[in-house]
């Protein structure tokens, strides 16, 4: 078993720093734009549709072609294979044909000898387009019944009957805005032509295999003709799961045609305009509950803006449904999810993948119930938690690893929730302009791709005759520390220092048919695949040593002091040399497929997740009731990462996830005009948190009793996405602070992001209500 072997002190479970930390701080860690450009590299720029939804009448590119330093221009007509860069549905065109679906859609790509010439030329196109009606908002798309797929329904029990019978009943809604990824390294790729039409592409992508497959599809090549490589990304957050493909494919198209290297690095504004974002949602609820606030029945109506194409929206909206319960048992529940097609950029994966939006819905419901009854929201939360006899989710999966009640109780006690709630009330009684709010919200996040077949991973491991280890797997590094974690797992198997393990760029010619590094599952899947590869090699070496030194195989031990075989003790390097001379293979692959999971999407029933990751957070906020300005003052977090593979990396994910989530719910506002043009397409207008937005006091604890109930790699838990949702506590606290401006009037209808303007409007609306 993975968790059976004792660990040397500095391998697995150790708080080692990121494997590239020194390269990062020295500026020597190489990103794609930093590679010395091969001779004759041409630079590309997309020509973007300025107009929203329109019929493309004529595309006159003569001025683009005639522009200084231009090599050539490519449109849909120049694609040798299929004009498709979509992940699943076949509806994302590399270049628009006949119809422009959204503002910013690429119409062509221009190749020039330098980037500036390409960018200048791209603006010279004469586009004749006949505007068509544009559906921009969720409401417009709903009214027009414009969808990317039929509405999905997930239900258990008789919600209508439960609602009718409930002593209390509330209806309401909340709108939750989208989010731009704002990875610091924009989308970039470099394609280098090889012999016989083959091509090698460096792509800043979370999904090298998909980029490989799409390049093959667009160019009419076989998968084996295309190699995609990524050493590291400068951030991704889901934004490079599907969105990297168009950039890489455009490079491949030009490189393939001209037989020269081709590079495309998007300008930040273009990147923000033409790549997808987190889905914005509108969530309606109808909830019935008892005098304690315990929910008896609930109907949830989820509607999201998917944008112009399907992209990953079906799975994202499924995950929103899967997290509409969060930690709470919903005895009778119906969740209906509308996936709306609009004439805006196609929304895509973003850390949490719909889960955060689903959770925002149910947390609003709980806050509303508590306000209605005048009870402490924490008490209402605790009354609704999953527990014995109340442990089946709306998708009929039994929750077997529920640690939320214990974890919440521990956090509330350690952070002094009760006393602070009283202190906040006292503060509010004493102040008229400033009001404080306190919020505690939990997180339960399902781990596994809900598309079951994606839950597989491969690894490739070489031992060299000097004992050094070359590690490769299908996971990609985007800053989350995947490479160091997997290296720790491998080092642990051979009982060597982690420095002996060389992590290498992810390449489709080393490990094929990989899944995206996504769904927080990178370490779970690739760590286990690498573990299996290492175990294979260790077993092979142990067998060889046993035979060589005449001992039983189980008498061979790998220790920090070398390999011990009976009376013999020798360094790993020496054993590798001996094995090599004895013609023993020192290379192995490893594979892992997540067990137990299954899901029937037609009925929305099954076990989509192997396990759940849990956490909880308390946020204390203050608002200025005259301007709507606000600050998150203090945050306490307790999070369950199981038995952490690397506590330092995990703490970094938790803090970073919280702050990113806080940005989503407070300062980060996407504004579109009535043609679907994004107005906030630059960091000057789209505001992610800065250092001073970080709460002055953040106390983050890893839950000490954490241990994955499932036999994951060393009983660890996934950590990439779940902490983002801890920031819902800050939003809940802001809602409480607004409520404090008009006591007794219930919960304000604050929508996210809670900009100063929305806070002020919510205060005004609440005060105007009859209380």
């Amino acid at each position: 078993m993975a968790d059976a072997a004792p660990s040397p002190p500095d391998a697995v479970h150790a708080p080692l720093r990121h494997d590239s930390a020194e390269g990062h701080v020295a500026g020597t860690a190489v990103y794609i734009d930093d590679f010395p450009e091969p001779p004759r590299t041409v630079h590309l720029a997309f020509g973007l549709a300025a107009e929203g939804h329109a019929r493309l009448v004529k595309l006159d590119l003569s001025k683009v072609r005639a522009s200084r330093h231009v090599w050539g221009v490519f449109t849909a007509a120049d694609i040798p294979g299929v004009n498709d860069v979509s992940p699943v549905a076949g509806d994302d065109k590399l270049f628009a044909e006949n119809e422009i679906l959204y503002p910013g859609q690429p119409l062509f790509v221009v190749a020039a000898i330098d980037r500036e010439s390409a960018r200048r030329a791209a603006r010279l196109a004469l586009v004749e387009a006949e505007p068509l009606p544009a559906l921009v908002t969720i409401a417009q798309a709903r009214a027009a019944e414009s969808v990317i797929e039929p509405a999905q329904r997930m239900a258990r029990g008789d919600a209508d009957a439960a609602l009718a019978a409930a002593p209390h009943r509330l209806q309401g809604s909340i709108a939750v805005g989208g989010q731009e990824h704002f990875y610091l390294e924009g989308q970039v790729a470099l394609a280098i032509p090889g012999e016989n039409g083959q091509i090698h592409v460096l792509s800043s992508t979370q999904h090298p295999s998909e980029v490989q497959h799409l390049i093959a599809k667009v160019l009419g090549l076989s998968h084996a003709d295309v190699t995609v490589e990524v050493r590291r990304m400068g951030g991704a957050f889901g934004g490079k799961e599907t969105q990297a493909a168009a950039i890489a494919v455009a490079c491949a198209l030009v490189a393939h045609r001209y037989k020269v290297p081709a590079k495309l690095r998007l300008d930040r504004d273009d990147d923000m305009v033409l790549t997808g974002k987190r889905h914005d949602f509108e969530i309606g609820y109808d909830v019935g509950f008892d005098g304690e606030g315990r929910i008896a029945g609930i109907r949830l109506d989820l509607a999201s803006r998917c944008g112009a194409t399907a992209d990953l929206s079906p799975a994202i909206n499924d995950r929103a449904m899967f997290h509409s319960d969060n930690c709470y048992f919903l005895p009778a529940v119906e969740i209906v999810s509308h996936r709306l097609r609009t004439h805006t950029v196609s929304n895509t994966a973003f850390r949490g993948f719909g889960g955060p939006q689903g959770m925002m819905g149910i947390e609003r419901v709980i806050d509303a119930v508590a306000a209605h009854l005048g009870r402490d929201p924490l008490a209402v939360r605790q009354a609704n938690l999953y527990g014995p006899g109340r442990n089946v989710t709306p998708y009929h999966m039994t929750v077997e690893d529920n640690v939320a009640p214990e974890l919440i109780a521990e956090l509330a006690a350690n952070a002094g929730y009760a006393a602070r709630r009283e202190a906040v009330a006292a503060f509010n009684a004493d102040h008229s302009v400033l009001k404080k709010g306190l919020g505690l919200t939990p997180v339960k996040f399902g781990i596994s791709f809900t598309t079951t077949h994606l839950n597989q991973a491969g690894a490739l491991l070489h031992l060299y005759s000097d004992g050094s280890i070359h590690l490769n797997h299908g996971g990609t590094e985007m800053g989350q520390g995947l490479m160091i974690k997997v290296a720790q797992v491998v080092a642990d198997v051979f009982a060597v220092p982690v420095e002996q393990v060389r992590v290498s760029a992810t390449r489709t010619d080393k490990v094929p048919n990989t899944s995206a590094t996504a769904a927080s599952a990178g370490a779970d899947l690739n760590g286990m695949a690498a573990f299996n590869a290492a175990e294979t090699l260790r077993g092979r070496l142990a067998g060889f040593a046993a035979e060589r030194f005449g001992v039983a195989t189980d008498a061979v031990r790998f220790t920090r002091d070398g390999v011990i075989a009976g009376e013999e003790r020798l360094p790993l390097s020496q054993l590798c040399r001996l094995a090599h001379f004895a013609r023993v293979s020192l290379s192995a692959t490893g594979f892992y497929a997540t067990p137990k999971i299954h899901y029937d999407r037609a009925t929305h029933r099954g076990r989509p997740f192997l396990y759940f990751a849990y956490g909880a957070a308390i946020s204390e906020v203050v608002i200025d009731t005259l301007t709507g300005e606000h600050r998150v003052l203090a945050v306490d977090i307790l999070h369950d990462v199981g038995r952490s593979l690397n506590p330092a990396i995990d703490l970094g994910q938790i803090e970073g996830g919280f702050v990113q989530g806080m940005g989503w719910l407070t300062t980060e506002e996407l504004v579109f005009d009535d043609r679907g043009r994004l107005l906030t397409h630059a960091p000057s207008t789209y505001k992610i948190p800065t250092a001073s937005d970080r709460p002055r006091r953040m106390t983050i604890g890893l839950w000490e009793r954490g241990r994955n109930a499932e036999p994951t790699i060393h009983r660890s838990k996934a950590v990439g996405e779940p902490p983002l949702m801890l920031a819902i506590s800050a939003f809940s606290a802001l809602t409480q602070a607004v409520a404090a401006t008009a006591p007794g009037k219930g919960l304000p209808s604050l929508d996210a992001p809670a900009t100063p303007e929305r806070i002020l409007a919510a205060i005004a609306e609440l005060r105007a209500q009859n209380g």
Binding site: H18, V659, S692, D693, R696
Partner: protein
């Protein structure tokens, strides 16, 4: 090598020559493409993320004055005669600088793309670069965006490396000996205001560039051709800071950072307003004169300066005229500027000791954001009455403008809640704000009125600042 060379000192110890024939090639491009300094990253190409942060050094007597700047919106000729440090300059003999060591060992990097910029900002603080003295780490890195870490480990790395001196003698010596181009193909870099006046009279269509924090984007984003460029960043006699009992005169070339302390001495709210303009890199480049001259309807400084009664001195050849600052802004995008005329200085009278002054900027994010609106109030209360009132707002009209109806509703009235209410209501007669991505017209009007109410509450001794609350913990 080139017919239009520029010269600068790299890494503190090497004089280099580079091609200066394209006046709007960015310093970032030059460093990455020409000098292979790929540790300097492009995150946004508009001065908002700080991934491209470098340090720029200039001779200041015997020493070198360093400042962190965004190289993405700095034009290559602006490096001429300066010293340049990139992230590659920091490690000595392969040994990381303590700032880098603290970032690496303290888990201050995740994806690593923003990290070189943070390393430069924190390094700048560790050597006492401009704008970092007595400045919290969070303010020093407010112009650096990180999307991964949540900032905690980066703030810690900064705390572990407090300001200390550095030995610049070698750099200073090299700077003294550095040849200066002072002009090149399509650009000039005059060294005196007189030279500028003569040049501008001869080239009235030339584009004057001070810090390039605004004009830089015309190139990187709008891809505009600027024509002939006159760089004025090195004109010593536009950098005067003259403080007196009567007030403060700031030369047009004084950068925000340089002006901050003197402005804060006029009134603390002015210092706080400057703190919240851009990031430190922007304040280390942008100038007070440039901010006025570019005529922004938001105007980072103008609303406050107008409320304080500032006056602008304009120069055309040898002729000068002085106008009230509010007269400069005629209508959206139009200023009272004659051909060949440039902003030479701004005069800000010192507020009376008993003046009641409040300047408030509202934005989605506190640091490094542009105002949705900015309100400035300068009142004098005597014998329970409002003896005088100047009120100005940015973001409420096509130009930064005074609020005559509001001022009238205050002036001569009892200093009371009723007067404040009447004056707050009067703002709706002064302004018809627009709705845009920074805020709706309704929000702007409501919040503008509330800023006056907030001033009243504060004057009654109430706590009104969420920022102060955050600092108190």
């Amino acid at each position: 090598m080139t017919d239009s060379p520029i010269h600068f000192v790299l890494d503190g110890d090497t004089s280099v020559q580079a091609d200066g024939s394209d006046p709007t090639r960015t310093a970032l491009d030059l460093l990455r493409e020409h000098l292979g300094r790929t540790g300097v990253k492009e995150g946004c190409a508009e001065g908002d993320c700080g991934a491209c942060t470098i340090l720029l050094g200039e001779l200041d007597g015997e020493r070198v004055a360093w400042r962190a700047v965004n190289s993405c919106i700095l034009f290559a000729p602006m490096l001429d005669g300066k010293a340049v440090l990139t992230v590659e300059s920091l490690a000595e003999g392969g040994t990381l600088h303590p700032v880098q060591r603290a970032l690496a060992d303290g888990h201050g990097s995740q994806c690593g793309f923003c990290t070189p910029g943070f390393a430069m900002s924190l390094y700048g603080r560790s050597i006492g670069a401009e704008g970092t003295r007595d400045t919290p780490v969070a303010d020093v890195i407010a112009g650096n965006l990180c999307r991964c870490t949540g900032y905690g480990p980066i703030l810690e790395a900064g705390e572990r490396n407090p300001p200390a001196g550095c030995d610049d003698r070698k750099t200073a010596a090299l700077l003294r000996d550095l040849p200066r181009a002072a002009s090149g193909r399509g650009w000039f870099a005059p060294q005196t205001a007189d030279a500028l006046a003569a040049l501008y009279a001869a080239h009235p269509d030339a584009r004057i560039v001070a810090g390039a924090t605004d004009v830089g984007l015309w190139v990187t984003k709008a891809m505009r051709d600027l024509g002939t460029v006159i760089f004025i960043g090195d004109i010593a006699d536009l950098k005067g800071i003259e403080e007196s009992a009567e007030g403060l005169r700031l030369g047009a070339g004084v950068r925000y950072t340089e002006a901050k302390e003197a402005l804060a001495r006029l009134h603390p709210d002015l210092g706080e307003l400057v703190r919240r303009i851009g990031g430190l890199q922007v304040r280390n480049s942008g100038t007070i004169g440039g901010n006025i001259a570019n005529g922004s309807p938001i105007g980072d400084m103008p609303p406050a300066l107008i409320a304080l009664g500032a006056a602008l001195t304009l120069r055309q050849g040898d002729a000068r005229r002085t106008i009230p600052l509010e007269a400069w802004f005629k209508s959206y995008g139009v200023q009272d500027r004659r051909p060949g005329e440039f902003v030479e200085s701004v005069w800000i009278p010192r507020p009376a000791p008993d003046a009641l002054i409040r300047i408030a900027k509202l934005s989605k994010r506190f640091d490094s954001d542009i105002s949705a609106l900015c309100g400035a109030f300068a009142l004098r209360i005597a014998d329970g009455r409002v003896a005088a009132a100047r009120v100005a707002f940015g973001g409420m009209a096509g130009i930064p403008a005074r609020a005559p109806a509001c001022e009238a509703a205050l002036t001569g009235q009892p200093w009371s809640a009723a007067t404040v209410e009447a004056a707050a209501a009067a703002l709706a007669r002064d302004y018809q704000p627009l709705s845009d991505l920074r805020g709706s017209a309704e929000y702007r009007l409501a919040a503008a009125a509330n800023l006056l109410r907030r001033l009243w509450h504060e004057a009654q001794g109430e706590r009104v600042s969420v920022l102060d609350m955050a600092l108190d913990g």
